[in-house]
C-alpha cells in the first residue's frame, strides 16, 4: 500500500503540552479532568461547539454538571443501547470530550430491553411528561430566584436572636452557595431528561429523508420539523410588541441611534405618563423573556438582555420605523404553519410508494411530538436558569470583593467552584473568629495569573481531536449533538492542506447568495456598529441576535449547525446564512467585502 495514502493522525493526549507559563492555571482544574497516560487509548475531540473559547476556572462547572447529567441519562436512566456517557478533560482551557460506545452485541441486547421499557415510555407519554418537566423547571427557577444574595452583617440581626434561630449568618453563606451550585447541577439533569430522546426522534426522521431524498438539504428537513410557536421566538416578538407600543405612545423618538441605554431610560422617565407606561410594558416583557443571554449560556460573560439592555434597545428603532410605516408585522404563525404543512405534504407525494408514506407519517409525527422540548428547553435551561446562576455567583464575587478578596466581583470566575467554597469558608471563619480572612492576600495574584493564562491559551490553536481515530463513529450522542462523523474527522485531518484561502466553509443554513460588507461582531457591545445591509459575522448566534436580522443581509457564524437558532431565524427572515464555520470571525476582516452562499455553505472573501 502506498505510504502516502496512510491517513494523518491526531496527536495523542499525552503529547499535548500545557502552554509554558500556564502550568499553575492548568493545575487549578481537578485531578479527574486532567489528561493522564491511559487517556492515550481513547479518541477525544475538542468541543468547540459549546466551548469555543478557553474556559475560566469557574466556568468549567458547566462542563462538569452537563456531562454528569448527560451521562446519567444515557447510561443509567434511559439506558441507550449503544452508548454510555461522555468523559471530559480540560487542557489549556479547552474542553475535550470522548464518548463511551457499547460494542458487545450481548450488552447492546440487554440494554435494548431496558431502553425500550424506559425511552418508549417517554415517547408514549411525551406530552404529560413534558408538561411535568415545565412545572419542575419553573419551580427550580423560582427556587433559584428565592435564594437570597449573600451578605454578612456586623452583628447577627436582633430578630434572629429573639426568634431563637440558633444558626448565624455565616452558615447562611455556605447554604446559599451550596444551594446555588446544587440547583445548577439539578438544572442540567432536567436539561438532559428528554434531550437525547428528542434528538433521536428528530434524527430518525432526518435519516429517513436523507435516504429517500439523497440530495435534500438539511435545512429543508429542519423546516419540516421546526416548531412554529416555540419559546425561542418570544424575545423577538416582545421587541416588536414594545416597538409598536412605543409608536402608539409616541415615545419611539427617544430611541435614537447611538444613544446609550442610560440616556434612553433617562429621557423616557422624563417623558411623563407615556414614558412611564412604556417602561411598565418593558417590565412585563423583561420577565421572563429578556432572560436570554448573548451567547449559549456556557460562559459567565454571556450576559442577558436583562443585564444589558443595549442589545434589545438596538433593535427597537428599526422596528419602530417599520411600525410607523405600517409595515411591522407579527410573525405570521398561520402562514408559517401552512408552509410547513405544504412542504411535508409535497415531499410525501414524492415518496416511492404507500409503505414509505406510512412510515414517513409515523416518523414526522414523532418528530413533531418531541420538538417543542428540543427547541424550548434552551430558553429555560441555558438562558434563564444559567443567567440566575452566574448572577448569584457574581453576588458572591461582590461580597468577597468588598472583603478584599478580589479587585472586582468578576474575579470570582477565576476560582473553581471548589476553590470558591474554600474562599467562602475562609470568610465564614474570619467573620466568626474576628480575624482577618486569608483570601485577600492569597487570591489576587492567582486571579492575575489565571487571567493571563486565559489570554495566552486564546492565542494558541488547539488540535481539533486527539488520540486514535475510530473506524466508525456510531455513537448516537456524538453524532446527534456534535454532528461528528468519520467524514468530518477526515476533513479535519486534511484541513489547512487543501482549503482555499479565499473561502470559509460551514453548514449551509439558509439558502441564497448575497454580497456585502462583513461586520465582525464579537459581543453585544458591538451590535450598534452594524449598518443597514451589512453581513453579520459572529462567533455564536442565538435568539438574542434575532432582532438585528432586520438590519442585515446575511449571517455567518463560527459555531452552530443547521438546527441552530440562527439558522432557524435566518430561514424565517429569508436571509442567506452559513453557520459552524469554525473560524469566520478570525479569517474575515471587519469591513471586508464577502459573498455568502447560504445554499452551499460557502463564504468567499472578495478583497
Amino acid at each position: 500500500m502506498n505510504a502516502k495514502l496512510k491517513p494523518r493522525e491526531f496527536p495523542l493526549p499525552s503529547s499535548v503540552k500545557v502552554i509554558a507559563g500556564t502550568e499553575r492555571a492548568q493545575a487549578a482544574y481537578p485531578y479527574h479532568i486532567q489528561f493522564s497516560r491511559t487517556d492515550d487509548q481513547k479518541f477525544w475531540f475538542y468541543n468547540s461547539m459549546h466551548f469555543p473559547e478557553p474556559m475560566s476556572a469557574f466556568d468549567m462547572v458547566t462542563a462538569e454538571a452537563a456531562y454528569c447529567a448527560l451521562g446519567a441519562a444515557n447510561t443509567r436512566v434511559h439506558c441507550l443501547p449503544t452508548t454510555l456517557g461522555i468523559d471530559h478533560r480540560i487542557i489549556n482551557g479547552r474542553v475535550y470530550i470522548g464518548g463511551n460506545a457499547v460494542t458487545d452485541p450481548e450488552e447492546i441486547a440487554r440494554r435494548t430491553v431496558e431502553f425500550q421499557k424506559r425511552a418508549f415510555y417517554y415517547y408514549e407519554n411525551w406530552e404529560s411528561l413534558y408538561a411535568r418537566w415545565k412545572t419542575k423547571m419553573l419551580q427550580l427557577i423560582e427556587d433559584a430566584k428565592a435564594i437570597p444574595d449573600p451578605q454578612l452583617p456586623e452583628f447577627e440581626p436582633l430578630e434572629h436572636v429573639h426568634a431563637g434561630r440558633g444558626i448565624a449568618s455565616n452558615h447562611d453563606l455556605l447554604v446559599t452557595y451550596q444551594k446555588t451550585l446544587e440547583g445548577y447541577f439539578r438544572m442540567w439533569h432536567h436539561h438532559f431528561e428528554f434531550l437525547l430522546l428528542g434528538y433521536g426522534a428528530y434524527l430518525t426522521f432526518f435519516g429517513f429523508c436523507k435516504k429517500a431524498f439523497p440530495e435534500i438539504t438539511d435545512q429543508t428537513i429542519a423546516r419540516m420539523v421546526a416548531g412554529i410557536d416555540a419559546e425561542i421566538f418570544r424575545p423577538d416578538d416582545e421587541l416588536r410588541r414594545l416597538a409598536r407600543c412605543a409608536v402608539e405612545l409616541d415615545v419611539d423618538a427617544h430611541f435614537r441611534d447611538g444613544a446609550t441605554v442610560e440616556d434612553i431610560m433617562r429621557s423616557l422617565r422624563a417623558a411623563g405618563e407615556p414614558g412611564r407606561r412604556w417602561l411598565e410594558e418593558l417590565q412585563t416583557s423583561r420577565e421572563p423573556w429578556f432572560n436570554i443571554n448573548v451567547g449559549d449560556g456556557f460562559y459567565h460573560y454571556h450576559r442577558s438582555w436583562n443585564d444589558d439592555l443595549s442589545m434589545p434597545f438596538a433593535a427597537i428603532p428599526g422596528y419602530a420605523r417599520s411600525a410607523r410605516a405600517g409595515k411591522l408585522q407579527d410573525r405570521e404563525v398561520e402562514r408559517l404553519r401552512d408552509e410547513r404543512g405544504r412542504l411535508i405534504a409535497d415531499y410525501r407525494e414524492l415518496l416511492a410508494n404507500d409503505e414509505e408514506r406510512a412510515a414517513y407519517d409515523q416518523m414526522i409525527s414523532l418528530a413533531h411530538r418531541v420538538f417543542p422540548y428540543v427547541e424550548g428547553h434552551k430558553f429555560y435551561c441555558e438562558h434563564w436558569y444559567t443567567n440566575l446562576f452566574f448572577n448569584k455567583i457574581r453576588s458572591f464575587g461582590a461580597l468577597l470583593a468588598a472583603q478584599g478578596f478580589f479587585a472586582s466581583a468578576e474575579d470570582v470566575f477565576h476560582l473553581t467552584h471548589y476553590e470558591l467554597e474554600a474562599a467562602i469558608i475562609d470568610l465564614m471563619n474570619a467573620w466568626s473568629s474576628g480575624s482577618e480572612p486569608r483570601g485577600p492576600a492569597y487570591w489576587p495574584p492567582i486571579v492575575t495569573e489565571r487571567r493571563a493564562a486565559i489570554a495566552e491559551w486564546a492565542r494558541h490553536e488547539t488540535p481539533p481531536a486527539l488520540g486514535p481515530i475510530p473506524d466508525v463513529i456510531d455513537d448516537p450522542a456524538i453524532v446527534m449533538l456534535w454532528g461528528i462523523t468519520r467524514e468530518s474527522l477526515d476533513n479535519w485531518l486534511s484541513a489547512g492542506a487543501a482549503t482555499d484561502s479565499h473561502e470559509v466553509r460551514g453548514f449551509a443554513a439558509s439558502s441564497g447568495v448575497v454580497e456585502g460588507i462583513a461586520r465582525i461582531v464579537k459581543s453585544a457591545d458591538e451590535i450598534s456598529r452594524l449598518q443597514q445591509g451589512d453581513i453579520l459575522v459572529c462567533q455564536v448566534t442565538n435568539p438574542t441576535w434575532t432582532p438585528i436580522f432586520q438590519k442585515i443581509r446575511a449571517a455567518v457564524s463560527d459555531i452552530g449547525g443547521s438546527m441552530s437558532h440562527a439558522a432557524i431565524v435566518a430561514r424565517e427572515y429569508g436571509l442567506p446564512a452559513v453557520v459552524g464555520t469554525g473560524n469566520a470571525t478570525s479569517k474575515i476582516k471587519d469591513g471586508q467585502r464577502i459573498r455568502v452562499d447560504g445554499g452551499r455553505g460557502i463564504v468567499t472573501l472578495l478583497q
Binding site: G200, I216, L350, A359, G599
Partner: protein, 351 residues
C-alpha cells in the same frame, strides 16, 4: 374542411392515440392538453405510413424478411436495411396525403411565410416507458419548404428500417407487425437557450430534485455533446438551487440561412455567463412539476426558450427509465410499524 385522413393536430391527440401517432406525437398532444406550451404542429399518423408500406409489402414482403434475420448478423441486417430504406424513400405518396400535408404545413405558417419545422420520427414502439430507445430514429431540423418536408417525412419512415432500429427490434423480439411510424411536424423554436431537464437526479435517483442542463442556441449542440452545458440542481419542492455549474460554452447551434443548422462561436462576453436566469430556472421547475404530476412519474424533458418571445416551450417529454427500473427491484426503504421501532435505527446500532 373534411376530417383529415392522415394528419392530426397536437391539440386533438393524447397518449391514448399512441398506436396511431407514435410515442412522441402522443406525448406532445398530451402536454398541450395539460396546458403546457409546445411549439405548434401536427402528426402524420401511421395510416399514412401503412398506405405507403402496404403496397410495397404486397409487391415484395418485407416484414417476414426482417423477422427471418439473425439478430447478430449485422452484415445481413445492414444490407436489408439499405435496400428497404431506398425503396421507402423512392415510394410514391398517395395524392390525398400530399395534399393534406401541404395544407397543414401552410396553415402552420398562418399568414406569414411557411415556417421552419422540425420533422421527427415518432415510432409506436418508441418512448414506451419500458423500452426507451430514443434517438434511434431520425430528426430533421429547419425544414423550410413543402417539397423538402415531404421528402423528410419519407426519410423518417425509412429510419424505422435503419440498421440500429432493425437490430434493436430483432434483439428484443419486437414483432414487425407492431412497428409503425408516425411523423411529427413541429414549428422550430429559434432558441436563445435550450436544454434538457430530469425530474429525478440522474446521479442519486433523488425524486426531490430537478437537474437542468442548458446551453446557448439550439438544443442540438447539447444533445449532440458538442458543448458542455451549464448545469443546475434545483429542489423540486422548495426551488432551492443547490448546484450551479456554469461552464465555458464555446459554440452554439443556430438556424443556417442556407437551411439546416450551423455552428457558431459564442460571443466572448457570454461564454461563461449562465444561460438561464434564476427566474427561468424557477419557471422550468414549475413546468417540470406539472408534467411529472400529469404523468404520475419522473420525466426526461427537452425544452427551449424562444429568442424573440423569451417564452419557454416544451419540445418533448418521456418517462425516466433507469432509476424507475432500479426501484422496481428494491424494497421500500421503510415500512410502517410500531411507530417507536423507527427510533431504533438511531439508537439500536443497526445502521
Amino acid at each position: 374542411m373534411p376530417v383529415p385522413k392522415y394528419i392530426s393536430w397536437f391539440r386533438d391527440i393524447g397518449l391514448d392515440d399512441r398506436p396511431r401517432v407514435g410515442g412522441k406525437g402522443g406525448s406532445l398532444g398530451e402536454l398541450q392538453r395539460a396546458g403546457i406550451n409546445v411549439p405548434p404542429g401536427f402528426v402524420v399518423r401511421t395510416e399514412a405510413f401503412a398506405d405507403v408500406i402496404d403496397p410495397l409489402e404486397r409487391y415484395s414482403p418485407l416484414r417476414s424478411r426482417i423477422e427471418a434475420l439473425a439478430a447478430d448478423d449485422l452484415q445481413m441486417i445492414g444490407a436489408v436495411s439499405r435496400e428497404l430504406r431506398a425503396r421507402i424513400e423512392d415510394a410514391p405518396l398517395p395524392a390525398d396525403l400530399k395534399l393534406e400535408i401541404r395544407d397543414a404545413y401552410a396553415r402552420l405558417g398562418g399568414l406569414a411565410a411557411p415556417p421552419a419545422v422540425a420533422v421527427r420520427s415518432s415510432a409506436t414502439t418508441e418512448d414506451a416507458a419500458d423500452a426507451s430507445f430514443a434517438g434511434l430514429q431520425d430528426t430533421y431540423l429547419w425544414v423550410t419548404q413543402a417539397d423538402s418536408l415531404l421528402h423528410k417525412i419519407r426519410s423518417c419512415w425509412a429510419s424505422l428500417y435503419s440498421l440500429e432500429s432493425l437490430s434493436y427490434r430483432l434483439r428484443h423480439g419486437i414483432a414487425e407487425s407492431t412497428a409503425a411510424m408516425a411523423v411529427v411536424v413541429q414549428t422550430m423554436v429559434d432558441a436563445r437557450t435550450a436544454g434538457v431537464m430530469f425530474t429525478r437526479s440522474p446521479l442519486s435517483g433523488d425524486r426531490s430534485v430537478i437537474t437542468i442542463e442548458a446551453a446557448w442556441g439550439l438544443g442540438s449542440a447539447l444533445v449532440g455533446g458538442e458543448v458542455t452545458p451549464d448545469r443546475w440542481v434545483v429542489a423540486k419542492i422548495t426551488g432551492e438551487i443547490s448546484v450551479r455549474d456554469i461552464s465555458d460554452k464555446a459554440i452554439r447551434h443556430a438556424q443556417s440561412p442556407a437551411g439546416g443548422v450551423e455552428q457558431l462561436a459564442v460571443e466572448e462576453s457570454l461564454r461563461r455567463e449562465p444561460c438561464l436566469s434564476d427566474q427561468e430556472l424557477d419557471s422550468l421547475r414549475a413546468i417540470a412539476r406539472q408534467i411529472e404530476r400529469h404523468y404520475g412519474r419522473p420525466q426526461d424533458i427537452e425544452w427551449a426558450i424562444d429568442r424573440h418571445t423569451q417564452q419557454i416551450l416544451l419540445l418533448q417529454s418521456r418517462p425516466e427509465t433507469v432509476w424507475s427500473n432500479k426501484d422496481s427491484q428494491t424494497a421500500a426503504i421503510a415500512q410502517a410499524s410500531d411507530p417507536l421501532q423507527h427510533v431504533m435505527r438511531i439508537f439500536g446500532g443497526r445502521r
